[in-house]
Symmetry: none
Subunit: 213 residues, 4 copies
Amino acid sequence: MNLAQTRVGRKNDPDGTKENILQVATEEFVDAGFSGARVDTIAEKTKTSKRMLYYYFGSKEGLYLAVLERAYAKIRSLESRLDLENLEPEEAMRSLITSTFDHDDANPDFVQLVSIENIHRAEHLKSSDVLRRTNSGAIDIIAAILARGEASGAFRRKVDPVDLHQMISAACFFRVSNRHTFGAIFNRDLMNDELKARHRQMICDMILAYLRS
Amino acid sequence: MNLAQTRVGRKNDPDGTKENILQVATEEFVDAGFSGARVDTIAEKTKTSKRMLYYYFGSKEGLYLAVLERAYAKIRSLESRLDLENLEPEEAMRSLITSTFDHDDANPDFVQLVSIENIHRAEHLKSSDVLRRTNSGAIDIIAAILARGEASGAFRRKVDPVDLHQMISAACFFRVSNRHTFGAIFNRDLMNDELKARHRQMICDMILAYLRS
Amino acid sequence: MNLAQTRVGRKNDPDGTKENILQVATEEFVDAGFSGARVDTIAEKTKTSKRMLYYYFGSKEGLYLAVLERAYAKIRSLESRLDLENLEPEEAMRSLITSTFDHDDANPDFVQLVSIENIHRAEHLKSSDVLRRTNSGAIDIIAAILARGEASGAFRRKVDPVDLHQMISAACFFRVSNRHTFGAIFNRDLMNDELKARHRQMICDMILAYLRS
Amino acid sequence: MNLAQTRVGRKNDPDGTKENILQVATEEFVDAGFSGARVDTIAEKTKTSKRMLYYYFGSKEGLYLAVLERAYAKIRSLESRLDLENLEPEEAMRSLITSTFDHDDANPDFVQLVSIENIHRAEHLKSSDVLRRTNSGAIDIIAAILARGEASGAFRRKVDPVDLHQMISAACFFRVSNRHTFGAIFNRDLMNDELKARHRQMICDMILAYLRS
DNA sequence: AATGAATGAGCATTCATTCAT
DNA sequence: AATGAATGAATGCTCATTCAT
């Protein structure tokens, strides 16, 4: 009897089951929003049953929160890997912007999830301590570059690091989050490679022109 | 007797009924998204019954589309009122940016509706001829200013008008659309008056620094 | 003003309107049964509005009854045209059967309407004096033929005319009323011309074999 | 404790629940037709809730189909029990007719269901493989009797077995399916015992007179 | 750790009908 | 004779969730 539990190909793999549920749930929430997503649909696409979903995450909202936390955790881990201290301020800034741009471009699911969270007034995010402590790191990095740029005279403009983060985020995020309406109205595919390269350059140039001025 | 027919608040007033439904529905869709909004809730807040909602708009989706079209029609009418031809290129551009900024600031409902539409991949907008023809006007205005600025030497930078529109929109839109997550993470109220004034100035400076460079 | 009413192509044509409604309603009731038929659908296919339907027929049930009465009235008028008195009993009987067969074959709508009425336990028919007095004529004709046949010795079998009418009706009616299930199960198109001719002959032969025996 | 699990009337009894729903649903569909039947009404008369009805049968149509399949399955099982091979052809045929007659007489619900199915052009039956394969057995039995009768000289008439099945079915089915309209028009209760015996005899005599002739 | 059966409350939608003119 | 606007009550169906084992 006990041997059965250690059999190869066993079912009992809690972490694997949870991860599988989270992946499927992410897809569904991204696809249909919080209200639009269906617990039944998520369960069906899962390797396990609907009951396990409640066993591990308690409720639809609990599952959504877990999905959100997993998505934020992913970017936080990427952010810390940048090594900008050895670059000149201007180059460091370009590198940071490019990294933000590429992240949003590569992770439309994350962008969508953040949009969904805003639709619901960030009520889930606000209720989660884990989530609120997430992004503060980005600001420290920006602040450091700005300090060095101001000291070296490369940046004449004095700027609040959170304000600057907002502008960079806006340009990078909007391109992905609003690609459907913007694309439909101006008959453009914003994901097109040529356009993408042009916009990445343009955002860098815009931010740097501002900091220099 | 004939006067009675023109009395305000009379029963048989199709346009009034429709407008009343649209106002209530806008609130609900803004509040809860398309899937989250409840037809019953909308109907209850209306002067009429749920049945009339279906009488005039056919379905929840039909109602949502009407709400969306009405919202877009509103901004289109505002856009055309700007008179920028008598201003120097730099001043005209500042005026356009300010107008965009103030519009998004004053109409968080519209911003939310556009976000919701993007969550649903703009499928409703794409299916509506009325909606797709809406925003082209903005581009002509930008193009005209850019042409004058390039001619006068005020703008050294050659720029695609749609690209520029995207950057301006991003900065103005994101501030409103993402105020909840951004505000929660950085502990800031983006709607605060002081911050608002600073961001308006900042966006203008940023765009102009870019165009001059 | 008064002249307008006599204008060619005028709208005011009560009988025409009623007839138009009845035709459309017949189609719909035949198509979907009493419960399945939709007043809105009927109204839409009509030249007039839904309101007129209620103006003339009072209710869905009233309309259905009018449709039923019109259908029965049609067959009654056909029946009386047969002139069987100059034929030998056997020929007269064959002629009567053929006429019944051809009527049911040519009027699947009537057959369907009668089936629908039976589904609803003939409650409408029972409540209408007009309808209950309809079919008695058929019996007199049969009785007369039987009397002559018995007198001449052509029919050895003594038979109740209503019983015989039932057998003839059954064979002719079932072929039309049950053509869908019977056709599906035995993979036959009961409306096929060859089969039709064969069945008409077969029913005549069967009834006459019985009467002779 | 273990005994409790086998107690009759326990809660978790899928098959019992399904059967209970099917019985109630049969009654309702027979009573009101497909469109006229109400899911709510069916649910109320059930031991369980409306939700279970959808859990097991998916939709009103799914439930109707299950009802239809169950009804056909019942007759199929009865048909196979006849043992006609040891009877003389004439007696075998009488026995078959009597059996058909008695079945329709004893199962007006089945007759009604088939009528309803015809009103809807047998669309449900056509879409169900189970249902289409149901009745072929009857034909084999008839064909066998006819072959023996023709061989022995008892039946002079050469007849297609499906045609004959149609005539027998028509006489037996019509008596039940059209009892309401026919009864109302001729002021007869077709279910009356005396009439029933007379008609059973009459149908036998009629078919045999035909086969002999 | 896992599951098939069960559920109450709520969902978008449609029904036949009537009002006011 | 005719009609566009309006309606209450239902209708078929689905939701996230929990029970019993």
